[in-house]
Symmetry: C2
Subunit: 240 residues, 2 copies
DNA sequence: GTCTATATACGGATAGAC
DNA sequence: GTCTATCCGTATATAGAC
């Protein structure tokens, strides 16, 4: 339909890099919670954390974290109730660990990629693509984070909100820069940033719908990018 | 910023009409569930249903339907446990009633308003404004429907999905018509419709954020409308 | 029609065997 | 390091008084 504008990296390439750093995140999670998870062979811990987190996401994203019983989790993960409780001290703590995991990995990567671009259009595109790639690679985490945010305690919920606002600020700054440089039209940059976030969110909230229709993350990213350029680029007949 | 294009009706006017028909919905709910709610004075039933639904939405939208105990609901609604169970036969049935309520009221109104317009741009604008007005007037219902859809049984969940697809089809048809009439550019109409839905969803999912920033539903609707026209209207220098 | 009191089951968490 | 068996609180739902 419209000509394909290639992003510096395809999703397939990107995904390899992220899969590797997921392991690092497990290790970081272990380091942060050394009191609860009394020292064990790191290999065992990483293996079991993968089983646990995978099972939690699978069950919770179907019927909700609250509705997931520890017996459900025990069955799905293949670990006994007792074994589970050596990796976390309460169901609530388990919830926190999952939320932190997604945040720490995502924020770092996004900032790095945006910084590599120099033009506002380049930064905007990098932010759109990278965020969508991240939410594709970690779709269950993103979905979980959104749906279960209300179950967090006050402090953790505030961290989640702050993280969301941080993403919005990134888009807002890019738009403002583009306006100052004269390449973007005068639009409310904060409201625009907020709407962009909503558009990106739809990708991981309605993931199965898009999968059923064989829409790839690259197609989606390209369409969003065109959407934004149409809105932000000045009309071609020159009236500002 | 951009000049305000007035929709046939302001939100304030619209809201009056919807508030009236909410009562009709309660009555319809009663009619549909006459077996469970053994015959009582209709006035009493309407009054108590309002209390019950209001309380459910308040508690559930804060901490989730599953986490809301019947004791919570009893306290918040001012009705005893026993009294509650004369209005529904199980917690699950209560969930269904809330979902049906939102759907029946919304779909009818949206279709009517869209049909009143003749041009594709007019229809598009009417659909955007009306959907946003509806989700503003019934924000707690919309939020609840989205967040608790996973807790429904298979049949009810299918009804919810079908309703979502119905909305998407409305937008898709408008876009296709506009393309055939030559007023809209060639874009993937289904994907575009899907993205529009995501943009509209953000309004009720992040309602408190927008409220805090004093963004009104009219401002939001206007911005979305401009967004869509920028994407769908052919470039002004005439290259199709 | 609505309340209080309770039956019955299921939840998270842990103690102690291996 | 992991499992089984169990404690104990809280959940939904209802029976029976008023």
């Amino acid at each position: 339909m419209s000509k394909r504008t290639e992003f510096p990296m395809t999703y397939a390439e990107f995904n390899k890099a992220v899969t590797i750093s997921k392991r690092d995140i497990y290790k970081a999670t272990i380091a942060e919670n050394r009191e609860t998870m009394r020292v064990k062979k790191e290999k065992t811990v990483v293996k079991n954390l993968e089983k646990i987190f995978g099972a939690v996401l699978k069950i919770s994203n179907r019927k909700g974290f609250k509705a997931m019983s520890m017996r459900d989790l025990s069955r799905e993960s293949g670990l006994s109730m007792g074994a589970l409780y050596t990796y976390f001290s309460s169901k609530d703590e388990l919830l926190e660990m999952l939320q932190n995991q997604r945040r720490s990995i995502s924020e770092k990567i996004l900032r790095e990629r945006v910084a590599q671009e120099s033009t506002p259009q380049g930064k905007l595109k990098a932010a759109v693509y990278t965020h969508l790639y991240l939410s594709e690679a970690m779709q269950p985490w993103y979905f979980f984070s959104f749906m279960e945010a209300k179950n967090l305690n006050k402090l953790e919920r505030e961290k989640a909100v702050a993280s969301d606002l941080g993403l919005e600020k990134i888009f807002e700054a890019i738009i403002t820069q583009g306006q100052e440089a004269g390449v973007f039209r005068q639009r409310d940059s904060r409201l625009t940033a907020s709407i962009i976030q909503g558009m990106l969110q739809d990708w991981y909230l309605k993931h199965s719908k898009y999968a059923k229709r064989d829409i790839t993350v690259d197609q989606y990213a390209e369409t969003i990018n065109e959407f934004l350029l149409a809105f932000l680029t000045p009309p071609s007949d020159g009236k500002a």
